[in-house]
Symmetry: D2
Subunit: 413 residues, 4 copies
Amino acid sequence: MSGSRPRARQLSAQRDEAKRIKDPIHDFIVVEPYALDLLDQPAMQRLRYVRQTGTAHLVYPGANHTRFEHSLGCHHLAHVAADALDLSADRTRLLGATALLHDLGHGPFSHTSELVTESRSGRSHEQRSVDILHEQFTEPLEAHGVDPDEVEQLILGEHKLKALVSGPLDVDRIDYLLRDGHYTGVATSVDALRLMATVAMHEDRIVTSRDGLGAAESLLVNRFAMHSAVYYHHTCRAGELLLERAMLELVDSGELSVDELARMDDYQLVSLLRKHEGEAGRMARRVLDRELPKVAFEVPYRALDERWVEAITGDLEELLTLEEQVADHADVPRRHVQVDAPSPPGLPETEAQIVGPGGETEPLSQASTLVRSLADAYRDHWHFRVYAPRESHESVEEAVPKLVRLETPLDEF
Amino acid sequence: MSGSRPRARQLSAQRDEAKRIKDPIHDFIVVEPYALDLLDQPAMQRLRYVRQTGTAHLVYPGANHTRFEHSLGCHHLAHVAADALDLSADRTRLLGATALLHDLGHGPFSHTSELVTESRSGRSHEQRSVDILHEQFTEPLEAHGVDPDEVEQLILGEHKLKALVSGPLDVDRIDYLLRDGHYTGVATSVDALRLMATVAMHEDRIVTSRDGLGAAESLLVNRFAMHSAVYYHHTCRAGELLLERAMLELVDSGELSVDELARMDDYQLVSLLRKHEGEAGRMARRVLDRELPKVAFEVPYRALDERWVEAITGDLEELLTLEEQVADHADVPRRHVQVDAPSPPGLPETEAQIVGPGGETEPLSQASTLVRSLADAYRDHWHFRVYAPRESHESVEEAVPKLVRLETPLDEF
Amino acid sequence: MSGSRPRARQLSAQRDEAKRIKDPIHDFIVVEPYALDLLDQPAMQRLRYVRQTGTAHLVYPGANHTRFEHSLGCHHLAHVAADALDLSADRTRLLGATALLHDLGHGPFSHTSELVTESRSGRSHEQRSVDILHEQFTEPLEAHGVDPDEVEQLILGEHKLKALVSGPLDVDRIDYLLRDGHYTGVATSVDALRLMATVAMHEDRIVTSRDGLGAAESLLVNRFAMHSAVYYHHTCRAGELLLERAMLELVDSGELSVDELARMDDYQLVSLLRKHEGEAGRMARRVLDRELPKVAFEVPYRALDERWVEAITGDLEELLTLEEQVADHADVPRRHVQVDAPSPPGLPETEAQIVGPGGETEPLSQASTLVRSLADAYRDHWHFRVYAPRESHESVEEAVPKLVRLETPLDEF
Amino acid sequence: MSGSRPRARQLSAQRDEAKRIKDPIHDFIVVEPYALDLLDQPAMQRLRYVRQTGTAHLVYPGANHTRFEHSLGCHHLAHVAADALDLSADRTRLLGATALLHDLGHGPFSHTSELVTESRSGRSHEQRSVDILHEQFTEPLEAHGVDPDEVEQLILGEHKLKALVSGPLDVDRIDYLLRDGHYTGVATSVDALRLMATVAMHEDRIVTSRDGLGAAESLLVNRFAMHSAVYYHHTCRAGELLLERAMLELVDSGELSVDELARMDDYQLVSLLRKHEGEAGRMARRVLDRELPKVAFEVPYRALDERWVEAITGDLEELLTLEEQVADHADVPRRHVQVDAPSPPGLPETEAQIVGPGGETEPLSQASTLVRSLADAYRDHWHFRVYAPRESHESVEEAVPKLVRLETPLDEF
C-alpha cells in the first residue's frame, strides 16, 4: 500500500543551520541539522497523522495531538537533560535521535492498535520502532556520527542512558503528561525543568537527586490523575474498544496483514474502515458518528478475585472468550458485548533511584510514601467494565456477575 | 460515498440534563439538551475530522485542531454574549444553535478547499452550511423551539443579531484567534470576556461600548499578527496550494463532483489522494511527506500595480493562466509552478459600531487610528509569491518579472 | 496608631450596579453592590497590604500577592459554588460575604504572626475576623439583608454551609493553591470548576459526588506539594522565624500590645521594626537584607520520638526553652539559635464526605488510597530544623542531638 | 534614615555554583555567582519592596509585583540575548549585570515618585542608578571582571550594546510587558524568544532581522494596549496623583530631602505618610483606604491645542499653577483639584533598525505601517483629566473649559 515510501530521502548536503520549531508546550524547539535529516524521512512525517491519545478526542474535543509533536517534545527534553548532565556532543546526539525516533513503531491511533498488533505478531511497538530505524534511518544517523545500534539499545531499554528515554522519570512521560494536559484541558502540573535539572550520573547510572523528590512525586501523581481522567475514561475506552475490535477483524479475516496495519496512519485506517461493509466497518462508523456503547456493568478491581483478574487483563483471547459467554448468557448478539479489562499500568517508578546528599541511593518507592501508595491507588480507580448498547443493558447486567470471579458480594458496591 | 449518513439520528427523548465538555480554551463548556441533540448529528461529528487551519500543522506541529472544537467554542461564547445582552431563553438558543452550526459547510481542510468548491459550484461555505442545516437539523431545532429559517438568516448575515455570529467582533473571530494561538503556540492576547461584556443592543443593532475599544483594537491587531505568522506563512501556503491544486484536478477531471468534495472530511480526501496515481496524487503525497516547493519569487503587494493585483487575486482561472505562462517562459514543467496571490483579508471591522457614553455611535475605523491603519498594514505583510521546486528556481525567478505588472522597479526590494 | 480607621465608611446609597474586577486567576470577578459596600471598608482595604504567604518572596520573588486578592478570589468561588448548589439569592449573599470577610483577622505577614498573636492573646485569627466583622461590617451587611451572626457562625465553622468556606474542599483552599502557584511559578493543577460543579447538598450537608473524587485527590496532593515546595521551604521558614521572634520581642517587652500587632499591616510592622534599635530590629533587618540563618541541623519527623514531637510542635514556650538549651550547650549567643518545629498540617480532608451514585456516603480518606497515604507522606517531607548563622553551625550541630529525643540513630539519616 | 545600609556586604569567597530562581514568567532563572554577589547587596534587596507599577493594584488587585523580580527577569533575557548574539563570557556578564542593576535608582512606587525626584533634584532615575552603582557595586563587579564604567555607559545609553538594555526592543520592555500582564491579568502577547532570536550585530550595532518584524510590531502594540488598560487607567492615575502630591509636599516643606525620598522603599514612604498629620498624610490615607477622587473633566488629547499641551505635559509647575486656577474659578479648596496631563510615551521604536535579507537596514517605523500609526493611536487613548471629589465635580467641570486651550468645541466630544 505504501510500499514505495520507506526509501530514505536524499540528505540535503548543504544543511548547516539549526531550525526553530514553535511548540505550544516548550515554546521554541531548536532542531539541529542531524535532527532535521531525521525529520525529513517519511516514517517520521507519518507520525503527523497518528493521534497521541487514541480516541480521547471523543471526550476531550481538543485532544487531536499527534505522535509527531510528542516526538519533537521528547527530542527537546532530551537535549535539556543532556545539558544538565553535561554530556558530550556525541552522547547528546545519540539521546536526541533516540527521543525523536522512539515512537516510530506505533500503529494507527497509537495504543489503540497495540494489543492487536502485539497479540497477532508478537512484536511490540518498540521492536517495530527498531525495524523502521534500520530500514530508513541508518544512513542519516551514520552521516551525523550516531550509531544506529546504540539507538536500538536505548529504545529497547538495554543501554545505561535508558533511564532518560524509557525509564520511570523519562522525557517521554514528562512530555506526554504536559502535552495531554495542554490539549485535553485537564490541569496538570509537571515541573519539567526541575526534573531535568535534578538528574545526575551516579556510578554510571542516571539518578535523581533528593532535591527532585517533590517534582518526581508530582510527575507520578499527575500520571495517576491522567489515567482516570483521560486514559481510562469510560467513553474514551468505549471508542478504543470498538476500533480495536474492528482492526482485529480486519487482521483475523485476512483482509489486512498485521504488518500492513502497524504501518498505517490514522487516515488510512479510518478510510479503509469507513467504506468497509462488514462488522469492522459498522463498528468504526459508530466511533466516527459517536454512537458509542454505554457501560452496562462496572466493578472496581478490588471487588474481583485477584488471580482471576491477573489471568484475564490484557489477554485478548481471554477477553474475547468472556465476551462470547456473556453474549450467550444474556442472549444478545455477540457484537453487542465488549469487555474492558486493561492491565493496571506498570509502576516502573519503584526502580527510579533517588540519591541523597551523602551519595546514598534508595528507590523512589522507599523515599516516598506517596509513591508507595500509588499501586493501591490505581486499584481504586481501575474498573472492570462491560459495554453494551442500551437495549442489551439489562440482560448483560444480569449475565456478567455469573461469569466473573468476585472477591466481595456485589451489593457492597 | 457516505450516502447513508445525512439521516437525522433519533432524538433522545429522555435527555433533560446539560453536559459539561472540557475545552482547553474556555475550560468547561456547558452544553444544554438542545445543543446535545445538534451535536449528535453526523454532520456535526464530521467536523471532528476537518482541520481548522488547513495545512498549518506543517509549520506548527501542534495545529491539529478542528472545526468541531471551534464550533463548540463559538457556542460557548454565544451563550456568554447572550447573557451579557440579557437575551430571552429563546433568542439565546437561536444564537447558540447558529454558533454551533455555522461551519457545517466547510469542505476538507477548511479554507484550503474553499476556492475550489466556490469557483466550481458557485456556492460559498455559508450557503453549504445552510443546505446541511435544512437537510439534517430541522427536526432537532424545531423540537427545541428554534426556527431553522432564523438560523439560516443569521448564518447568511441577514439578521439583526448577525453581528455576534459573523460580524466584525463576533464570537467566531474571538474563538479562532484564541484557539489558533493555543495550538500553534503563537502568543495571542484576546480579552474575550471584556469583549463579550461590552457588547450592547443599541437601536436594534449590536454595538460595542467605548469601554471595549481597547479590547476591540487588540482583537483586530491579533488577527493581523496571526495572518502573517500563520495563515499566510509561506510554508503553510505551499502546502495549501498543492492540496488545492490536487482537489481541483479531481473535480475538473470528473473523478469527483464538487458536492462530493465539499462533504468529505480530511480523512476521506487524504486517503483518496494518497492512492491516486495521477498528478493529484503526486501533489498530495508531497504534502504528506512534507516535500514542499519553495518560494522562487516574492514581492510585497505594494510593489505591484494595484489594478493588476485586483484582477488576479482570488481568481483561480487567472492564476492558472499565469502559472502556464510562467512555466512556458521558464521552460519548466507546468506542474513545477504555483502562483500564490490570495486576496488580502476583508476588513469588515470598519463597520463595527462603537457607542460612546452619550449614546453616539461611530464606526470602529473612525474611533481608532490603529484600526484605520490596518488595511495598509496588511499590505506590508502581504506578498505575491511564486513557488517552484529547487531545480526550477532560477528560470522561474527570471521569468516572473516579465509577466507581472510591477509598480516599482524590482531592485528597490 | 490607626485608631481612627475602624469607622465604617458611608454606604453609597446610589450604588446599584455590579463591577467587574480583573483577576489573573479567575479572569473577571463580578462584584455585586453588597460586596462593593464591604470592600469599601478600611479593614478590607488593609488586606491589600498583608502578604498572603509570609516571607515566601525571599525564595520566590513573585510571591508578593495579598490577602485582599485572595479574599476576592474566595468570594468569586463562593458565588460559583452557590450557583452549582442552586442556593437562594439570600444564601448566596451570605456565602459571598463570608468568603470576602473570612481573613480580616490575619495579622501582618498572615501566618507568620499567628503563633505570636494566638499564644499571647488566646484569640485565633478566625476570632479576630469575627471581632472586626462586628465592629465595622454590621451596617453594610444588614443593609443588604445579610445577618452578621450567620457570617460569624460560618467563619467559626458552626454553620451547616461551613464546608464551602472552611471545610476540607473549601473555596479558601482552592483559591490559595491556584493563587500561590500563579505567583510563585510552582506548577499546580487544581480543577476549580470541576470541584465546584461536583458539590451537592445531601441530607443537609455539603458533600462531593464521586465524579469529583479525582479532582479532590488532586487538590489535596497539590496542597501537599505546595507544603514542601513553598510553605515549609527551609529559607521561607528562616525568614518567618526571624520575623516571628522580632514580633514576639515587641509584644513581650511591652512595646506593642498584641491587639495593636494583630491589626497592623505589613507596612506598619516593617517600618516599626526597621527603625527599632534592639534585637527585634536586628532580626527584621536581616530579613529585609536577606541575610538569613542557614539550617545547622535537620532530621525528618520520622527520626524523632513521636511523643516528644507532639509535645514540642507549635508550642512557642517549649521551642524557646529548647533554643536556650541549645545555645547554652553550644556556647553561642542565645539569638544565634532558632528552632523550627511546625505542626504538620491538620488533615480535615478525612472528614470530607463523598457521595456515590446510590446516595451512600463515605469519608474521602476511605474512598481514596492516595488521600489515606497523605498523613504519612507529610511526615516524609516534614523536618525538624535548627537554624544558626554559619559561624555557629558546628557547635549547634553538635549540641542538638543531645537535646532532642531521636527514634532512630542519627547516622541512618 | 537607612544611613547604615549602603555598605557593601562581604563577598562570599567560596561561592562557585549557580543558583536557579523560580520565576512565574521565565520559569527557572539561572543566576551565576557574579550575579549572586550583586543580588546580595542591600540596594538590590531594597527593590523587593518597590512596586513595579505604582498604584495599579488599586484597580488590578494582583499587581503587587516589584522591581526586584523585574530586574531578575531582565537579567535572564539579557543572557538569552547574549547567547543569540554569541557574545563572549565577558560581554555577557557586562550585559547581565547591567540588566540586573539598571533599576536601582527608582524611588518608592517607581514612576509615581519620578516627576517629584526629577523636578526637585534634576537627576533622572537612570542617573540615580549610576550613583548607587558606584557606591555599592564597584567591588563585586570588579571581582568578577566587569567594568563599572561600562555598566554606567550602558545604563545611560552611551554604549554600543545599549539597544539590548534601554533601546526600543530591549529586555526591559519585553520583561515588563509580560510581567505586568501576568500580574494584572490583562492578556498580553509578547514572543520574547522570537524577539531575542532575531537580534543580530550589524556593522557594530544591534539590529533586528526582518523575520522578527511581526514580533516587534506585536511588542509595540502590546505596550500601547497596556498604556490604556493599566498605566494610564484613570483610577490608577488618581492614586498616583495623590501619592505624588503627598511626596511633593514632604519635599517642598523640607520634611524630607529629595535624596532621602529617592532612596526609600514603598514601606518606608507609606509608614511615614500614614502617620503624617498634614495634607500629605491626608492624601496618602485616601490612597490606602481607596477613597479616590473621580474624574470631573476629561477630553482626549486631540481635542486640545497642540502647543498648549506641549507646554503643560509633564511640567509639574505648570500643572500646579493650573490646579490653583481651577480651584479658584471653581471656588473649591485647593486640595480638591488634581490635573493629570502626563506626556504621551516617547516612541524610540522609530529608531529600531530592521535589517533585510540583503543586509539593508531601515527604521522600524518605515518597515511597518502599524508602528507608524502608533504615535497617532496613542493620542486616541491619551486623555487630559481633572480629578476632584464628588462634591466639587459640578463646579470643577464648569471651570476647566475656561482654563484649557481647546482645539475643537467641547460638544463634539
